[in-house]
Symmetry: C2
Subunit: 153 residues, 2 copies
């Protein structure tokens, strides 16, 4: 049974899998969506602020959303997510480099019932991406999701 | 010559090209990064909150970053962007559907010199994505960029 709005409480925390990113993927993503030399060219990246090839921050965000959806939404007992309203406070705290293993942690920070529609509620989630089980996140973001209520089935 | 930190003033606005998104691209992106039925399956999408297949909001964001980089950063007279610190206030105001033509507008909303490093400054940009030259954006986001100063060359 899915995780409905009523099943979520502030402070609930979930682990949502992990994913190791390769150099080829970093370059391929960047060539498509963020073609800046420090994301696409190992040699040019040495002269950048980063000093080495780093993943596009947008790529790290996309990989975190993939973990969110595949590990936390799509399983049979996953979040009954209806859609997203937006995101806040996206911060890239440290660069991601080839071979890094990303893991995602999700924390419920706010819930409120919709006042106009009785089939849904609004849930605010803090999502944090860690590399190789480090103590500090490399990416953090707060998302605003629309979640189905149990009675709406 | 690139657009350096000193060349930017609050209120400056830039148009950054346009891009038409296809159904195949919407599905392909979503299968990779946001595999929810309303982004990957036309039939299942009819039963969703959206009533039709819609682009992942993450996809719209990625396409807006592609326009930002290819049209506003990478040209010879483009922004001397050193990297990004983060983004705020990401909002999806309306869904994007197959065949929509997205255009990007960029507005400088804040600039400040770095106090610790004389080669750079911080620039806050509001980025707005419009569909088919509509009056209201379908996506808006505020980005915090690090921009090279002219003397740092």
């Amino acid at each position: 049974m899915p995780l409905y709005f009523e099943d979520l409480a502030v402070g609930d925390t979930f682990e949502a899998g992990s994913y190791t990113v390769t150099k080829d993927e970093i370059i391929e993503f960047a060539e498509q969506f963020d073609p800046q030399p420090f994301h696409t060219d190992e040699v040019a990246a040495r002269d950048s602020m980063f000093g080495e090839l780093v993943a596009s921050g947008l790529h790290t965000l996309c990989l975190s959303v993939r973990l969110f959806v595949t590990q936390f939404v799509n399983p049979d007992d996953g979040l009954a997510n209806m859609g997203g309203l937006g995101m806040d406070n996206l911060r890239w705290h440290a660069p991601v480099t080839p071979g890094d293993t990303l893991s995602l942690e999700i924390e419920v920070v706010e819930t409120s019932q919709s006042e106009s529609r009785d089939d849904r509620g609004y849930v605010t989630l803090d999502r944090r991406v860690y590399v190789d089980d480090g103590d500090d996140p490399v990416l953090s973001i707060r998302s605003h999701n629309i979640v189905q209520r149990r009675d709406a089935e």
